[in-house]
């Protein structure tokens, strides 16, 4: 029993360094997804049919393929064909990010649509352009509404990141496998990997839940405070 704990103890620094890789990977992918996802959502709701059509195509493509397929297509396919000497880490962020953008755009689209047309009409009636209205009126509300759905996306990307094992990225699982095969102790090592993932998931979701409370619009939602 003690040898199991010893194995974990020795493996921990190595695995934790892998966690840093995972965290950077997930962070980068989520930021990329956010940066592309928001404009895509706005494009689908307020854009003309060509823009909306293009975005729909993008969403269909990146949601329709398994992460593994996309990873291989990019890392072993596209990069080679284009002669790009990019790392597995780059491939990971790119693929996870582009894919996340597709999913995130739908989260935001749902939130924007849930506001109804009243907010945009009120903004336009004041003389705001659609762009100004989207930035100052629509997004502040839609983003807040998106937080619960978005925490789903966080946990999904975190778990998907483990697939980069297949292109040799030295994240948690790759390192876990490496140690497990050398020490012949798969159970304690993989349990440790699992625990790390659980902690990362819990931490992120908890953070988002606190964020949600902090940015909550007073009076909005289901908890009514008595003012009078």
């Amino acid at each position: 029993m003690t040898e199991n704990f010893l194995a974990i103890y020795e493996a921990l620094p190595y695995l934790l360094r892998g966690s840093l890789v995972t965290i950077s990977l997930v962070g980068g992918a989520l930021v990329l997804g956010l940066t592309l996802g928001i404009p895509m959502a706005i494009g689908q709701v307020y854009g003309n049919k060509y823009i909306a059509g293009l975005i729909s195509f993008y969403v269909w493509f990146f949601r329709g393929l398994p992460v593994l397929v996309l990873l291989f297509l990019f890392y072993f396919g596209l990069f080679a064909v284009l002669g790009l000497d990019l790392s597995a880490f780059t491939a990971g962020i790119l693929v996870l990010g582009l894919r996340s953008a597709a999913y995130q755009s739908q989260i935001f689209r749902g939130s924007i649509q849930s506001l109804g047309e009243g907010q945009m009409l009120a903004a336009l009636s004041l003389g705001m352009s659609k762009a100004k209205a989207a930035w100052h009126i629509i997004l502040p509300q839609a983003l807040r509404i998106s937080i619960p759905g978005w925490s789903n996306e966080y946990s999904i990307i975190l778990k998907d990141s483990a697939v980069t094992y297949a292109i040799g990225l030295m994240e948690i699982m790759t390192r876990g496998k490496f140690i497990a095969t050398r020490t012949f102790k798969p159970m304690p090592i993989f349990l440790t990997c699992a625990l790390i993932f659980l902690i990362l998931t819990y931490g992120g979701v908890k953070f988002l839940s606190l964020l949600e409370k902090k940015v909550k619009i007073p009076g909005y939602g289901t908890e009514r405070e008595e003012i009078y």
């Binding site: 009409l121 009120a122 336009l124 009636s125 004041l126 003389g127 352009s129 100004k132 502040p140 619009i217």
Partner: protein, 167 residues
């Protein structure tokens, strides 16, 4: 031309069809400065449609609108500038939910009129005071009662310098 100058809003021969239903069949009227016109009709008779045709939230199939002698319909000009002059109060109180009452009145002044923050804040406070809402300036639309919301919306429109308030 002399006669037209006293006329703030002129609406001529507006037609609007939704599918097979022709909601507006040649509506024309003029409003002089200081005048109040009331449009009454049963639900679904096209009142809101007419108002939306005036500030081009809906484009009429046929007909023209002039605001202070300038044509609003079929114009390449920036529609936003016309909308700044026409105030619209919606049936379901479209205040901006993520902003408190003060910010609601301010935002049009800052983002559309380009007023400075301090000036806008002052003006917003005055407008809220005028409708008796200064105590509730910090409250959000979800925390305001129905009547208060209407007043808030009026403040937003009037401070914006609307020529008229369309309800």
């Amino acid at each position: 031309m002399q006669k037209d100058k006293a006329i703030v809003l002129k609406v001529e021969d507006i037609h609007k069809k939704y599918g097979n239903v022709e909601v507006l069949r040649g509506i024309s009227f003029k409003i002089k400065k200081g005048e109040t016109k009331v449009i009454i009709g049963p639900s679904g008779s096209g009142k809101s449609t007419l108002l939306r045709c005036i500030n081009q939230l809906t484009i009429p199939d046929k007909g023209q609108v002039w605001l202070e002698g300038e044509e609003v319909t079929h114009t390449k000009k920036n529609i936003n500038q016309f909308r700044q002059k026409i105030g619209m109060v919606f049936q379901d109180f479209n205040l901006f939910d993520h902003l408190n009452a003060l910010r609601n009145v301010e935002i049009g002044l800052i983002k559309v009129k380009g007023m400075g923050k301090e000036e806008a804040r002052q003006k917003a406070k005055e407008e809220l005071k005028q409708v008796g809402l200064e105590e509730q300036a910090h409250l959000y639309p979800a925390q305001l009662s129905g009547g208060t919301k209407t007043e808030g919306f009026h403040s937003q429109n009037f401070s914006h310098g609307s020529q008229r308030d369309t309800i």
